[in-house]
């Protein structure tokens, strides 16, 4: 136990915090609980962070970085249809990420979290709108469609949570995603 504590990094704490958020929302992030889970002392926590708020902020910044990484990975894909397909396949493959997003907006986030949440939302909607613009939609339409696409993405995790057996799984989920992308990118 003691040995584990001495080798804990900041990322171990932020990862544990994100896992706790995914499971039980922002209120599930408690220094003591996380310390127990990591087999560390509270002292080792305060070596990395000044308080719980600092940990929360570091955790959502780490989450933002995974969002940025996905955008960097898929931005070079030339065909905007393929780009969106790959982006969402990747996003849906990580149900953990979706749970974090649902949890972050289930209750009013503290200011430091709210700032990151707003930035991530704008970044993603802009990225989707740009792809839709390349497909030939004019700006207002691309923006509306980007919002519909993004809200459906976010809401899919909530629907799944609310009614687990109602959401298709495996290959059937692939068909659901195909339908989503077709619906949003179809020319009326």
């Amino acid at each position: 136990m003691g040995l584990a504590a001495s080798t804990l990094h900041r990322e171990d704490w932020t990862n544990a915090a994100l896992a706790a958020i995914a499971e039980g929302g922002l209120s599930a992030v408690a220094v003591e609980t996380l310390a127990t889970r990591l087999g560390a002392s509270k002292g080792s926590f305060y070596w990395h962070f000044s308080d719980r708020a600092a940990l929360l902020e570091a955790a959502v910044l780490a989450w933002e970085e995974t969002v940025e990484r996905a955008i960097r990975d898929f931005a070079p894909v030339a065909d905007p249809h393929v780009r969106l397909r790959l982006l969402f396949e990747n996003a849906f493959r990580r149900p953990h990420a979706g749970k974090i997003e649902a949890a972050l907006t289930a209750e009013p986030p503290p200011p430091a979290v709210a700032v990151v949440l707003k930035r991530v939302t704008r970044r993603r909607v802009a990225f989707l709108a740009a792809a839709l613009g390349e497909m030939g939609f004019d700006e207002p339409s691309a923006r509306r469609r980007a919002l519909i696409l993004y809200s459906t993405y976010l809401g899919t995790f909530s629907t799944q949570q609310a009614h687990p057996r109602g959401m298709p799984r495996g290959r059937a989920f692939g068909a659901y995603l195909t339908d989503l992308l077709e619906v949003v990118t179809a020319r009326g």
């Binding site: 929302g25 209120s27 997003e101 649902a102 949890a103 972050l104 907006t105 289930a106 209750e107 009013p108 986030p109 949440l117 707003k118 991530v120 939302t121 704008r122 909607v125 339409s141 509306r144 469609r145 919002l147 519909i148 993004y150 809200s151 459906t152 993405y153 976010l154 809401g155 899919t156 909530s158 629907t159 949570q161 609310a162 009614h163 109602g166 959401m167 298709p168 068909a175 659901y176 339908d179 989503l180 077709e182 619906v183 949003v184 179809a186 009326g188």
Partner: protein
């Protein structure tokens, strides 16, 4: 403090839902709620065994007023497209309702709230699937479209919380919903 002896269980349920919408289930406290309603904690225990019983009553109240009652009215609209239009307009017009959904859904694994949420979600999906079927879509597609519509609805409130200004202004909401409905009602291929 004004005495309100005529306070009914529904008054408590409604007040509890307000708190859940604004600050989540975690923020719900019997003491604070009693203070808000201007009554004693004792009057609470006259109606409810404990906080969990209040949460259950609030979720049941939400099921009845937020879903069952609305569906009874909408069911009378014969044209499926018009029914969906009314359903969307009604659902998206009240951000407060969506906040309740988001807050309750976060507790979907709760043994008391979970089954109510599943029942409501199932009933809403079935209601919407039915309308898409009447529009001429095949069953698998109609089911997808209902899931997409419901997810778009839940996700809209997540975005509202993340960045309120990202969403269309109230005056543009009709156009936004018309576009959403046109997309979802379109045949495949």
């Amino acid at each position: 403090v004004a005495r309100t002896p005529q306070l009914k269980p529904d008054d408590w349920a409604r007040a509890a839902l307000e708190t859940i919408a604004e600050r989540g289930i975690g923020a719900l406290s019997v003491e604070r709620l009693a203070g808000q309603l201007g009554v004693s904690k004792g009057s609470f225990y006259w109606h409810f065994a404990d906080r969990a019983a209040l949460i259950e009553a609030a979720a049941l109240y939400w099921e009845e007023t937020g879903t069952a009652a609305g569906q009874r009215v909408m069911q009378a609209i014969e044209d499926p497209r018009e029914r969906l239009r009314c359903l969307f307009a009604d659902a998206f017009a009240y951000p407060r309702a969506g906040q309740v959904e988001a807050a309750l859904t976060a507790h979907a694994s709760d043994p008391v709230v979970g089954p109510i949420i599943r029942r409501v979600t199932e009933s809403r999906l079935a209601f919407t699937t039915q309308a898409f079927l009447e529009l001429g879509l095949e069953l698998p597609t109609a089911k997808h479209r209902a899931l997409l519509a419901y997810s778009a609805y839940l996700g809209m409130f997540a975005i509202r919380r993340a960045d309120g200004r990202a969403l269309p202004a109230r005056r543009n909401l009709d156009a936004y919903l018309a576009e959403l409905l046109a997309m979802l009602a379109a045949p495949t291929g």
